[in-house]
Amino acid sequence: MNAVILERRIKLVFFLAALILLLLAVAKIENFMISLILGFVTSYMLAPLVDLLERKGFSRQWATVIPFLGLTIGIVIAIQLVVPMLTEQVATLKTNLPKYVEVATGLFTRAESEVVGIIKTVYPGDITSTVQPHILGWATDFFQGLPNYISKSLMILFLTPLLAFFILLDGRQFVRSFLTLVPNNFFELALNLNHQIGSQIGGFIRARFVQSTLVGAVIWIGLMILGFPYALVLAVVGGILNVIPYLGPLIAVVPAVLISLSGGTDGSELAWIAIIYTTAQVLDAALITPFVVARIVNLHPVTVILVIIVGSQMMGVLGMIICIPIFSALKVSTIAIYKHLTDFRS
């Protein structure tokens, strides 16, 4: 066999073996995949700052260390200021939960009586008795599982910054070393693909982060002005759920509506809640989307629903939140690979 072809094949085998081993390690080590994903997200968000510091004349090491020092100080301040407020709000929410479940069930009962009146013959079952245990079950599971989530989160909280730090410091060198295994005839293609996918995913993550922060901040400020309870918790939930297109903002408003209804609102509070949540979305659409529209992957509503169903079945609530960014990243990568493969070769 020709020496060039043999060398190419050996290189390709080693490259694929290294890739498979890497993917296996990511999948098999507990908490590693989620830490790695969050590590990538953190590194993509800090990368512009690291590059800026490098442009100012700092070495790559210092340009990486400085943002992490800043981040650590920020986290310490947040722990001192925000976490006690957040913990207090979560504890109160836990105490008042049965009241909110009762309100939700009441809503279902009223809806049921109206629906049964219309479709009595079509659906003879009792919706309330079916739905109530589910809602109570989900809510109880969530709060009972909270210590477990927190212990898992501590591991992830330790691993994520560590991985993010090394991705920023050595990520490029690691990719470069990895690319040396690619045979010469695929090298330009692999290098260009890596660059395209990296820049598109980076842009997407940064855009989503800015959007979620803006939405969360608007909800927090609005609810605080309104004097609404759990403003911070609801803002955090609203910000996180904002990563789910179409459905996220709708799901985010539900807890606020339930809390308001349980307080015996006269309707004006509900109107204000609607205004606050709508303002957050309008500001997002007016200020952020036009500037980053090219970086946001547009997904069809049906695709979003299907992806969320798959995500929830695979990883529960966490799956629902992370499935859209992961799917979007996969979509960006697939389009880039397809476009490249069709355009690259003559």
Binding site: E54, R55, N184, N185, F187, E188, L191, H195
Partner: protein, 175 residues
């Protein structure tokens, strides 16, 4: 930090110097300071080619340029003969150590390679591609501007040469 256990440190130092020297001698990078050259050295891609191995083919989308660190490269062009049926391969030139080619791809958007380049003997080529240039511009804009100015100069010179040749050929055809 990556691979530091596995690599022969002395060999790396030698290889690094050789790459840096080759970069410094190239017209595109001759304005860079030592510090900028060190950054660039960690960005470029050193590739080994066997005799007869193709570097890139005519018609492929080009991503960047190559500098010959050792060995030599044949440049050929495939074109249809006067009947428009058979492909005729014309040998254009042979590039030797410190020669460079494919630099137009650094500024072109999805531009296609105008010739095929093949390693004539065991060759070590330094690849500098568009993603590398973008990375350098982001991390060290001063170095990026220096390279782009030189690149403009090289492309301008080639354009002048081509224009002069076309003018000469036109004159010959008219006579």
């Amino acid at each position: 930090m990556v691979n530091f256990i596995w690599e022969n440190l002395f060999e790396k130092a030698e290889k690094g110097q050789s790459v840096r020297k080759a970069l410094k001698e190239n017209i595109l990078f001759q304005d860079l300071s030592l510090r900028e050259l060190r950054v660039l050295e960690n960005i470029v891609n050193v590739r080994n080619f066997r005799p007869g191995e193709c570097v890139f083919k005519q018609g492929e989308v080009g991503v960047g340029m190559y500098i010959i660190n050792s060995g030599s490269v044949n440049v050929t062009v495939e074109e249809l003969d006067s009947n428009g049926k058979n492909v005729k391969i014309t040998h254009v030139t042979q590039l030797k150590k410190n020669g460079f080619f494919g630099e137009l791809a650094l500024v072109e958007d999805n531009g296609r390679r105008s010739a095929t380049c093949t390693a004539h003997e065991e060759s070590v080529l330094i690849g500098f591609f568009k993603p590398d240039l973008m990375e350098l511009v982001q991390r060290n804009p001063t170095a990026g501007v220096k390279i782009l100015l030189r690149l403009g100069e090289v492309l301008g010179t080639r354009l002048k040469e081509t224009t002069a040749r076309i003018t000469m050929l036109k004159k010959e055809v008219t006579l």
